[in-house]
């Protein structure tokens, strides 16, 4: 919303320092004066303005002399007449500013012969406004004050001889009183501690005359004020009125429409004018019936619903009430008689209707903030006053028709002084509090230690209803910048540590150490994605409204979005490990979905031949070892849909599955154009994992006696798993001598039959209390070999 400083000043008086440039012109000391080598009439002066180095300034004034004190405008300073000082070369010498004459800085109207010579006692660097003892608020300073005390000023612009403030509408969401100049003038009066001039239009009105039948509904329209005016000539508004509207970016249309807009901009209350001859004198306010339509003045035909508040002429809808008028009763050049309307509309009704129609007009955005019903009559009277001024021939045909069945109740609040200070954290006396509230129009009655406060009508509709709302008024006018900075006492208990969060950060560090890089992806994907990843749509939550077709479903799997990342990164990288921590959202029978924290790790190799599964398995094992005392990675019959069904393992802790490691399903690989690459994935539910606290191990005595070891190489059928082989070896160890067994080679190929593999184990034996004998080792070895042979294995070299 735009505000004109001149307009504001019609209601509130304060000293204005509009010669803002004087605050940028400084006192300089002329250190030396030399003749310009290339110009007879020019001199080169060295001028000290209180900075480290003096400035070199080329000057043509004949009265310039060494040791004078002068007024200096440095580069960047704007002078009256839209002239900005710049560093520039004058006949081969760089000049860094201007030594000013009175007329050049707006202190004299006549052209001066020489520069302005100042009192030699002045200190260099002093600003000219201080020298001239000019006080007041510059337009910029006022803008800052409005920002700090009331609402955000997004910009200040010079417009002819006025300054225009651009207010951020968002910062007025809760302030029905600030949608016009008068409301802001009231704020300025409070901020600057000065008087607000009253606005009480009192035009002469007939007590009898032409009237209308109006059937209203106070739920839709708490107050409806209207008036019939005849003998109007529709013509352009006078220049002064047009200029005022243009200054705040409202285009002038004609005298009547301009008056309604003027009142809206001045008081913040929207108005409407109907062509009386077309509207008739029988109006009805009601909700629309389904099937009704209206062509609004923007010439769009709108289908109405039972959610739309309308005004009818008793038969058809002539206005979308409080939002936009209808084309059929619009003011045109041939209009001669009008109805002026200033009504107060139900904010919820207006908001719903304007949202449905996607129609946010100047009027609707004001009404939806809950306007003061007392303002309606003032607005109408102000409009009449203006009309009588600019169209004196117009005839007010009758008295004001004011339908106002129920005045809202007055709000009176108790404000405890102790609450003010405890909330704000600053010492503010009860007297100052009272003064602030009164300056904003509140009525205050001090009791012993408290204040009894009556809220003015323009703040009572929604904005100020509780004690804290009053504290806000005091705090902001007192000045948030005046509140001291204090640290609260530290609590005696240490904060509850969020194990899960800390674990997440640790997990990132571990994975980083294992060579993985973290990525973030969005929480949604498309229907195509879930189909391509062989997921079931029924598990998904879907967005009712979405921004892109690629973001319609909430993820139940971290896989699809990560595959997009993998695909994109394969353009630049041949092999990489990436991970993501995030949530999945599964539809359940309950209202709230199941949100789970997931970790997905992917090991990617550009070459299809490079098996990545075991590299990933190693990473997962290393990672899980940091969190769990025990876990198992085993084959599974219930693979996740994104897994290759024969290249998948489940990760289990004691009681339940926490995730799976797998190579990506070949169909999905093709769907994501990843068929030529090798991709292993692990998706792990980390929710429980992160809460789990790894038990503290007891120290185990280091072995005192030397260990013996031997190697066994066995050729077995591919069907025999490593798990089975290892279990078989362990089963032979009746005396608990095997301290460790490790596979050091797995071989397939030459000299080994197809469908067979050679596995080489190194087995380490030891005894806690004595040195083992060779005979004991031989016994174990024989037993191991026997058992492996029973499993169908062939012991190499036996």
């Amino acid at each position: 919303m735009k505000l004109s400083l001149n307009w504001l000043r019609e209601f509130v008086d304060f000293p204005l320092l509009d010669q803002a440039h004087l605050a940028e012109i400084v006192v300089g000391h002329v250190l030396s004066v030399q003749k310009h080598p290339n110009a007879d009439k020019l001199n080169i002066a060295q001028v000290d303005v209180g900075e480290n180095e003096p400035y070199t300034i080329v000057c043509g004034a004949a009265n310039l002399k060494k040791d004078q004190k002068v007024a200096v405008a440095l580069p960047g300073v704007s002078l009256p007449g839209d002239f900005t000082i710049a560093r520039r070369e004058i006949r081969g010498i760089e000049s860094n500013g201007m030594i000013c004459a009175e007329d050049e800085i707006g202190l004299a109207a006549e052209r001066q012969d020489g520069i302005m010579i100042l009192d030699p006692k002045l200190k260099v660097g002093t600003k000219m406004n201080e020298v001239l003892k000019l006080s007041g608020y510059s337009p910029i300073k006022l803008g800052q004050l409005i920002t700090l005390r009331t609402a955000e000023v997004e910009g200040v612009e010079l417009h002819k001889k006025d300054y225009i403030y651009d207010i951020d509408n968002k910062s007025l969401t809760h302030r029905p009183d600030l949608w016009g100049h008068y409301g802001f003038a009231r704020e300025l009066a409070a901020i600057l501690n000065t008087k607000l001039l009253p606005l009480a239009p009192a035009p002469k009105l007939p007590t009898k005359g032409e009237t209308m039948t109006i059937k209203s509904d106070s739920k839709i329209c708490p107050r409806f004020c209207s008036l019939i005016v005849k003998n109007i000539k529709i013509e352009p508004s006078p220049a002064w009125l047009q200029e005022k509207l243009e200054a705040v970016s409202i285009p002038p249309i004609n005298n009547i429409v301009d008056i309604t807009n003027f009142v809206m901009v001045e008081l913040g209350h929207p108005m409407h004018a109907f062509d009386y001859d077309k509207a008739g004198n029988n109006l009805e306010i009601r909700m629309a019936k389904s099937g009704e339509t209206l062509e609004t003045i923007d010439h769009k035909t709108r289908k109405l619903t039972i959610e739309d508040p309308v005004i009818t002429n008793g038969k058809v809808v002539i206005s979308l009430a409080g939002i936009m008028g209808g084309a059929s009763t619009e003011i045109t050049d041939s209009t001669t008689n009008i109805i002026l309307e200033a009504a107060n509309w139900n904010p919820t009704t207006i908001r719903r209707s304007s949202t449905t129609h996607g129609l946010r007009s100047e009027a609707s955005q004001r009404f939806e903030k809950s306007l003061d019903p007392e303002l309606a009559i003032i607005a109408l009277k102000r409009a009449v006053e203006l009309l009588q001024d600019i169209a004196p021939k117009a005839e007010i045909a009758g008295p004001i028709i004011d339908i106002y069945p129920q005045k809202p109740k007055q709000i009176t609040l108790t404000l405890k002084h102790q609450h003010i200070e405890s909330y704000i954290g600053a010492e503010i006396t009860i007297k100052d509090s009272q003064k602030i509230l009164e300056s904003l129009g509140f009525k205050v009655e001090p009791t012993k230690s408290d204040l009894k406060v009556t809220v003015p009508t323009w703040r009572a509709t929604k904005d100020v209803t509780r004690e804290v709302d009053l504290i806000e008024e005091i705090a902001r006018i007192y000045g948030y910048d005046n509140i001291p900075c204090m640290l609260p006492n530290t609590p005696t208990e240490t904060p509850i540590t969020n194990e899960s969060r800390q674990s997440e950060h640790n997990l990132r560090k571990i994975l980083q150490g294992l060579g993985a890089t973290e990525v973030y992806n969005y929480s949604f994907y498309s229907k195509t994605d879930l189909q391509n990843a062989l997921l079931d749509e029924a598990d998904h939550l879907q967005l009712e409204n979405y921004l892109a077709e690629t973001q319609t479903h909430l993820r139940v799997s971290m896989v699809p979005n990560l595959l997009h990342s993998i695909h994109a990164n394969l353009k630049y990288e041949d092999n990489f490990t990436i991970f993501e921590l995030g949530r999945t959202y599964n539809k359940t029978a309950d209202f709230f979905p199941l949100e789970e924290k997931k970790l997905i790790v992917a090991v990617v190799n550009k070459s299809k031949k490079e098996q990545q599964f075991f590299k990933l398995k190693g990473i997962v094992e290393t990672l899980l070892n940091q969190y769990l005392e025990a876990f198992a990675i085993n084959p599974t019959n219930t693979p996740t849909p994104t897994a290759h069904p024969q290249q998948v393992a489940t990760i289990k802790t004691e009681d339940h599955e926490i995730g799976q490691i797998f190579n990506l399903h070949p169909l999905i690989k093709d769907n994501y154009d990843l068929g030529n690459h090798s991709i292993a994935l692990a998706e792990i539910n980390i929710g429980n994992l992160l809460h789990h606290k790894k038990a503290v191990n007891n120290f185990q005595e280091l072995p005192k006696f030397p260990a013996l070891d031997f190697a066994v190489s066995v050729v077995v059928d591919e069907k025999v798993t490593i798990q089975e082989l290892t279990a078989t070896i362990k089963a032979t160890d009746k005396n608990n001598l095997i301290q460790n067994l490790a596979i050091f080679d797995i071989y397939r190929g030459q000299n080994i039959a197809t469908n067979k593999k050679a596995i080489a184990y190194k087995i380490i034996l030891s005894h806690p209390d004595r040195t083992l004998t060779d005979a004991e080792m031989t016994t174990v070895r024989e037993a191991v070999c026997d058992n492996l042979e029973k499993l169908g294995g062939e012991i190499r070299g036996r």
């Binding site: 809760h174 302030r175 969020n498 980083q512 979905p593």
Partner: protein
């Protein structure tokens, strides 16, 4: 014989000095001290000496032998040293060849900054909390003093989930802010409270270089018996000063958020121009950073906290924006697209 021995010593020392290679030296040593060497040769004459002369000459011969052996050893060491130096020179490697890459990944900048924020608040006694990202209208709006049809709902355009609404909870939505966790924590723990809530939030808004429909926020909440706006100023100044590692000034100005009263916008002094005005702060010297205020009594009530006994403040800021500011990132979309060329810079 004495003279012969003395001469042998002098000549040999001179000869050692002249040797050029270790082999010459070895040959010389054999020639002089070997079994058939010159010393042995001379000592053959001992048998012709008198009994008196024998011990004297024997002693002398031993001394000379020791001296010469020492000389040979010294010279041999010199040769070995030269040899070693030569060898070392030959073994020179090109240390400018690249190192063998150790596997080490990167933690996403959002995670890094989030941890820093958590650590600072943790040290000031705040706990880190979590809550659901798919929320009900009740928790996201009503409980935070934003009733249906409130204009403030426009400020936070919302993603709705296709699912029948709940009688008390309303529709299911993607949370538009981390504030619902305020209520959930109040319900679970009551007062007093000091928490922060970093987390992902969603807005149904067109995306551009500075706005994404997905971003991360940090919510803060402090409730106790005598918590005031001056404490908010203190805590935020401390937090930002530690985060940016310079003495930050902060500025409050009026703002509107239905869940706080008074409501504030919080700016901090621009770190690039130290408040004198630059491109980053749009010449104002201040950077708009967060919304804050005293928790509205209706919100405390919704969380089951007695607003007559307890009061406090809340704040919320964009973690994503903070990350962009810290690293001078010009497009928010880099943060959520998984491009390793981007993440590897951190």
């Amino acid at each position: 014989m004495e003279q012969q021995l003395a001469k042998l010593q002098t000549n040999t020392i001179a000869a050692i000095g002249k040797t050029k290679t270790i082999n010459d030296l070895k040959d010389l040593e054999v020639n002089i001290l070997g079994r058939k060497g010159k010393l042995t040769e001379i000592l053959k004459g001992v048998k012709d000496l008198t009994a008196e002369q024998k011990p004297t000459i024997g002693k002398l011969a031993n001394e000379i032998k020791t001296t010469l052996e020492n000389e040979f050893e010294q010279k041999a060491k010199k040769f070995k040293l030269i040899e070693l130096e030569k060898q070392l020179l030959e073994e020179k490697i090109d240390v400018t060849e690249p190192g063998i890459k150790a596997a080490f990944g990167h933690v996403h900048p959002l995670s890094q900054v989030q941890k820093e924020v958590e650590d600072i608040f943790n040290s000031m006694g705040f706990s880190v909390m979590d809550g659901p990202e798919v929320e009900s209208e009740y928790y996201n709006f009503e409980s935070l003093n934003i009733p249906a049809d409130h204009p403030a709902r426009d400020m936070q355009d919302t993603f709705f989930i296709k699912q029948a609404p709940h009688k008390e909870h309303g529709h299911l939505v993607l949370r538009t802010h981390t504030s619902p966790v305020q209520i959930r924590t109040m319900e679970a723990s009551g007062a007093p409270l000091r928490i922060i809530v970093p987390g992902r939030v969603f807005r149904y808004e067109a995306t551009d270089a500075t706005h994404d429909a997905t971003f991360d926020q940090v919510e803060g909440l402090m409730i106790d018996k005598d918590i005031s706006l001056s404490h908010l100023k203190g805590v935020l100044t401390e937090f930002l000063s530690r985060l940016f590692d310079y003495q930050v000034k902060i500025r409050f100005r009026p703002g509107y958020f239905p869940f706080v009263e008074p409501g504030l916008e919080v700016d901090f002094s621009c770190r690039f121009c130290a408040g004198s005005g630059c491109r980053v702060c749009k010449k104002t010297g201040w950077i708009e950073f967060m919304g804050a205020g005293m928790v509205h009594p209706n919100v405390l009530k919704a969380g089951g906290i007695d607003s007559e006994k307890y009061q406090g403040w809340a704040f919320g800021f964009g973690l994503t924006r903070l990350v962009m500011m810290r690293y001078n990132i010009n497009d928010i979309r880099h943060l959520y697209n998984g491009d390793l060329r981007f993440i590897k810079q951190f």
